[in-house]
Symmetry: C2
Subunit: 339 residues, 2 copies
Amino acid sequence: MRAAVLHGPGDVRYEERPEPTIIEPTDAILRLSVTCICGSDLWPYRGFNPVAEPMPMGHEYCGIVEEVGRAVRSIKRGQFVIGSFGASDNTCLHCQAGYQTSCAQRQWVTGAQAPVLRVPMADGTLVPTAEVPSTDLVPSLLAVSDVLGTGWFAADAASVKPGATVVVVGDGAVGLLAVLAARHMGAERIIAMSRHAPRQKLAREFGASDIVTERGEAGIERITELTNGVRADCVLECVGTSESMMQAIRSTRPGGSVSYVGVPHGVALDGAELFFTHVRLHGGPAPVRRYLPELIQLVLKGHINPGRVFDLELPLEQVADGYRAMDERRAIKTLLRTS
Amino acid sequence: MRAAVLHGPGDVRYEERPEPTIIEPTDAILRLSVTCICGSDLWPYRGFNPVAEPMPMGHEYCGIVEEVGRAVRSIKRGQFVIGSFGASDNTCLHCQAGYQTSCAQRQWVTGAQAPVLRVPMADGTLVPTAEVPSTDLVPSLLAVSDVLGTGWFAADAASVKPGATVVVVGDGAVGLLAVLAARHMGAERIIAMSRHAPRQKLAREFGASDIVTERGEAGIERITELTNGVRADCVLECVGTSESMMQAIRSTRPGGSVSYVGVPHGVALDGAELFFTHVRLHGGPAPVRRYLPELIQLVLKGHINPGRVFDLELPLEQVADGYRAMDERRAIKTLLRTS
């Protein structure tokens, strides 16, 4: 098969790779009709993470089960399934507590920008739908796999409650879907920080009540002003840089919550400063598996349409163009068709 | 009057100072029969915080109201009152949310190692008892003012719930009273980290079920072992160093909570490491005012006896000996009599 492989900064290739096969008896093999590019794929693409050897890319997926290992019980051939980037047994104590991305047997899924994917611990990792969904729903179900699940965790980890004033830092696909999640959880006011018109528009569609274009100190001042000097109850940090993290912390009221869901790059928090802000901090790799059953139902019932974040669609063979468009912020998120 | 003044590292003097008087109409003047030395007083005493000019010491207090400013409404002359190191109006939105140490008008109280003390915003800061309590209860009421209130916040900020497994890092007076607080909140298992026999004994009296003497990596391993590989639900960090903070974070299960209540000294948290631990972090200067009414009642009814942390009692004129004893860990906490 041909799939996306990153060879170094800016160098993603559509090239021949061996088709995955069952390795462990708990594996499943999926055929993917669509796949996509994640904002986090841009870290190695931009050279912020080292690429020691050619790296098969992609970790967001849904598709049809083609084969299962002999130890797989609940997942069947022919089912349409959705999984998370963190494969998990879904039975250990961390999984039971809802932290499947800290599963005792956790494995990171990779190589999903391809027509065929091997998923470890299929019974724990994958959630099947009752029927194969119609094609128009597939982009939204693909979004559930990571970008929506991560935005959802951002809202949940910041304890968004009915009536809350919420700030979302970051207007990438995760940030936009964090807006959607906060709206679903009943936030009264949702302030999206964005200076890009198409993203502002989508933020409003997803439920943002205010847009703030200022950043850094000016952004914090604007939030303080908009909240009558109190600052926000919940701030969802969806970028992962030092600037965005500090902006999030300083926009939060004492006793309020900051969540952070993108792998921090170059972030060092000063203990004494954090201490005097009185904020609550929670985040990490989103335990998307926790939310899959609920989010899949919300999509199937048409209550949410997270697939709206895909504003560029390309055949997989043009994957390099998809990376470029996201890198240059011409696209929010790229959907890739495998056939 | 004569009172304790720090002139530089290790140099605390009992010397003449002007007796405080009403400055603002919202002030109260208290006469203190006992006062005490805080673990946090050791930071400047040990030279970790700079002492730019002679610094009146002490911020834990209870006593009899001697005078009130003309704008004071609820506090009366002759009342026995208890307050916190953070003076607060107790009406602003941060106070209403229970974060009085982030009060919009916050002032830090200082100069309480003295027979007479000025307290700002008396109506917001002070809580009176119905009657002047008997002398034997006064040490426990003095403890409520900071060390118990801070230990209580440690347990509350780490969301200690009935059945929880709790670790307390730090066997100073705050750590020991955090054990008491965790027990009161229904923790099932309380692991106190201590290598000092008298502190271990008091930790057990206050409700610790286990004592761990190992520190750093060995301490984390021991906690992991004691919790069957899961680690603790709640870890209460009551020291404020980088070592203790990292030990706390690494002893916590994914989704578990770390609280920190001592001003961090030299603590820098690596964002990426924190991210992958999946812990919740909350702390800051304890909003003791939030807990005063409840804690005062618990003491008056004899349900708790936090004054047990005072294991050295001296006249105020020997304040320098009190600092020395705590600095050398010969005393857990020093009570000072002003007459």
